[in-house]
């Protein structure tokens, strides 16, 4: 009786002990020296493994940074603080990290955008998109089923009751997961300091846009003419601001007939524009 318990215990325990000893010996014999800098860099990184830096994981980035193959300011989650620490480890000066935030380039709420059909499928934008491009007449707009909300690891994007995803820029780390997941490619990463934004992703002609959305860009070119810096241009019937030159002056905003261009600071109080 005792043997039934003792033998398996001894055999498996013995095997485990023996193999453990072999592995312990091997790990010394085949020890690979890891660059101590890599260890240090890895420790200051947030460890979210979000991929925002362009590397597969924090480990991969720390290795590249330690070898000097990657800039010290790649970590968008950690921002300036982490960039300075990484730079300190690598012994060079930190370059500025331009903090970005995801922006949903659409204000086609339930009251603004015309619906094509009633959607009763899986609660996921990608599924809805597979069904004739979603339930909005606008082929480019936010579907509002919250695929981004479910995927966001930082709880930074939410679908409002009006049916549009909105980003909480305080929480957004610009990891880009929602940007990749959005089937409409309506989410863009934009420098948080750029406050004037064209909230439309629609490339249709103006007449069509007027029929299907109250706040869509109708490509009237008013903003292009207004811009004192000449950084607004038309890309295929959609107004696009080149953010490198934008000064947040807002000259384009009052002239926009469909109220597509908005200043983030102004709309924060109003929340929803109808």
């Amino acid at each position: 009786m005792l043997q039934d318990i003792l033998y398996p215990l001894l055999i498996l325990g013995g095997m485990g002990f023996l193999f453990g000893a072999i592995l312990a010996y091997a790990s010394q014999k085949f020890h690979v020296d890891v660059d101590p800098k890599q260890q240090e860099v890895r420790e200051v990184l947030p460890g979210a493994n979000c991929g925002g830096c362009g590397f597969a994981s924090c480990d991969a980035y720390s290795q590249a940074a330690a070898e000097g193959k990657a800039d010290t300011n790649r970590c968008v989650v950690g921002g300036q603080a982490v960039a300075e620490k990484v730079a300190a480890i690598m012994g060079n000066k930190a370059e500025d990290v331009a903090k970005k935030s995801a922006r949903v380039m659409c204000k086609g709420t339930n009251s603004n955008a015309v619906k094509k059909y009633k959607y009763h499928g899986i609660d996921d934008c990608r599924a809805a998109n597979a069904l004739a491009g979603g339930n909005k007449e606008c082929r480019y707009g936010c579907l509002g089923l919250g695929t981004c909300e479910k995927l966001c690891p930082f709880d930074a994007i939410h679908v409002t009751p009006e049916g549009i995803a909105e980003v909480d820029e305080e929480k957004c780390t610009s990891c880009g997961i929602c940007v990749k997941a959005c089937p409409k490619h309506v989410i863009k990463l934009i420098d948080v300091n750029k406050r004037v934004i064209v909230f439309c992703n629609n490339h249709d002609k103006g007449k069509r846009v007027r029929q299907i959305c109250k706040v869509g860009c109708i490509a009237c070119r008013m903003c292009v003419k207004q811009c004192p810096e000449n950084v607004i241009s038309m890309d295929n019937n959609l107004s696009v601001i080149d953010y490198d030159g934008c000064t947040n002056c807002g000259a384009c905003i009052p002239k926009c007939p469909s109220k597509t261009i908005l200043n983030l600071d102004k709309i924060a109080s109003e929340a929803v524009i109808s």
Binding site: Y7, F30, H31
Partner: protein, 192 residues
Amino acid sequence: MAGHLLILLVSSIFVDNYLLSRFLGECPFLGVSKKVETAMGMSVAVIFVMTMTGVISYVVQTYILVPLGLEYLQIIAFIVIIATLVQFTEMVIKKTSPTLYQALGIYLPLITTNCAVLGVALLNVQMGYNLIDSIVYSFGSAVGFAFALVSYAGIRERLAFAPIPKTLEGFPSALIGAGLLSLAFLGFRGLV
């Protein structure tokens, strides 16, 4: 004797191919078959691990488990052996070829849970092979695994350049390719 071993070798490589006839260990088959180079690396690792597993598990089975009547510990004991071997292989590869280590990535530790490796250990016992048979069968199975993996990687490399309809791009076409390759291997039935 030699003839019997040759038949065992050929049948384990072609006829009873682990990936394409027995359908064991499909995870790396789809995971590391994008490039012939990584497929080669994975194959070498699998050949080493599988052959060693075959030998050690045979020894453990015959000289420890059977005399003590502990056959029911087979799976646990074999898993311990496999896990150790994989860890060991990982250390060696990390030391000798960092590039290969990078390329194999997650799939190397995954050999631990690769059912083809456990399969070879268990089948050796089930078929009642002796030590030499076990070595030949384990080695043959691993070579068959490697052969299928590398030839499939070759197919996928070419598929990447082929004009494939949009709906079938990527995994769908890869799976169709795997199915066709499996059909081709089933043609070896009756060879032995």
